[in-house]
Amino acid sequence: MYKNKKTSITGIIITIVILIIIVIISNIKIQDVAYIENALGVVIMPIQNGLTYLKNWISGNNSFFSNINTLQEENEALKKKNIELEQSLRELEIIKSENDTLREYVNLTDKYSEYKTLPAYVIQRDISNYSDIIIINIGSKEGIEVNMPVISEQGLVGHIISVTDHTAKVQTIIDTASTISCTISSSRDKMVARGTLQQNSTLKATFIPTEATILEGDSVETSGIGGIYPKGIHIGTISQIINTKNITDRYAIIQTAVDFNKLETMLVIVGNNESNQGEGT
């Protein structure tokens, strides 16, 4: 079928390159382009330094050649020192990473001390663009059961929808099929938050009472109604209120406290330490 095999391979290579460029550009964040600034700095700064030196030399401040031998020796010593420090830094980074994970677990356990919890981490994410299910590394053998709530240091993650011996499937709160009864922390007004197809960790809050005073920045937590999530777990903050002609149809966008793209560690609530807690479970 191909007229020219070489042309075909070139075409595929060009397509791969274009795909990589599209992926990179589409996922770029403004803060991530700081390296362009750095790269420009690398090109421009030596020229700038040279010009400054020239200006100083003309002004009679030339001391560049006076200590050139000493500077070269110092430079060599500093290079060696730099290599040693880089090695130490790498070792420290590994230790820091381990420490961070352990600290996260400890902080989480302290924060939710009223609940009996089990630590877990994400082993697989959803393959679909239209749902948000994650798989965690603990299952029924570790005491996990269906409908147990899952939390992280920032707030509510979701609940268990199925378990195997050593894994469990978690339906996150941003999944399109997820519905949570929640309360505005300040006014105690109740509403219903649902997952959306938006890719940026947001929920759509509906059934807002007509008399409710709702403001952007209000904190939202679980209401305890529904039988799955305990009362008072932080969900997120209201980022936008959309008013409609009919006040009963107004809705709000909740920015979840948890960044689901970066979510790695979490806790599964397996029970209560205090009998008066978690009326919703």
Binding site: I12, L19, R125, I127, S128, N129, Y130, Q199
Partner: protein, 177 residues
Amino acid sequence: MRKAVAILILILTFFITYLLQVNFFSWFTIASIKPNLFIILTLFVSLFAGTKVGIPYGIIIGLFCDLLLGKTIGINAVMLGIIAFVAGYLDKNFSKESRITIMLMVMGVTCFFELGSYIMQIIELSILIEPLPFLITLLIEIFYNAILTIILYPIIQKIGQYLEETFKEPKILTTYY
């Protein structure tokens, strides 16, 4: 023996596709949108090996995905089974030798699969109906799948020819006699 090798190829291809989809394409995304390699895989198996192999293959890998990552069992299985069936119709009416035709087929079945899955989710799980975000996600996914088809086409064609020789009976083009 030839059939056993072909079946082994089908199983291996599924596992490679699964690993790529779960690991590589979970971060190699276009605006956070992932492609769906299972749609491409099912379409090609059904196009080259025929619907007798394609339909059960689509249903099995769909069930596998449903069991591993789905909220309900059946949506992926049903939709991939239907895609394999549609591929049989496409095979009869269009040439799979043309890259453009294949690309259009992939775009069409991606649209069909995601639309069908979305409608089934609306019915089964009562999810929110969000036409605009769905359309944006779908268009990006279709575009991504089309690009991957261009890249993967030579490999697919080679494996496809082997499957075709193994599973399909030779066609007799009566109009030429």
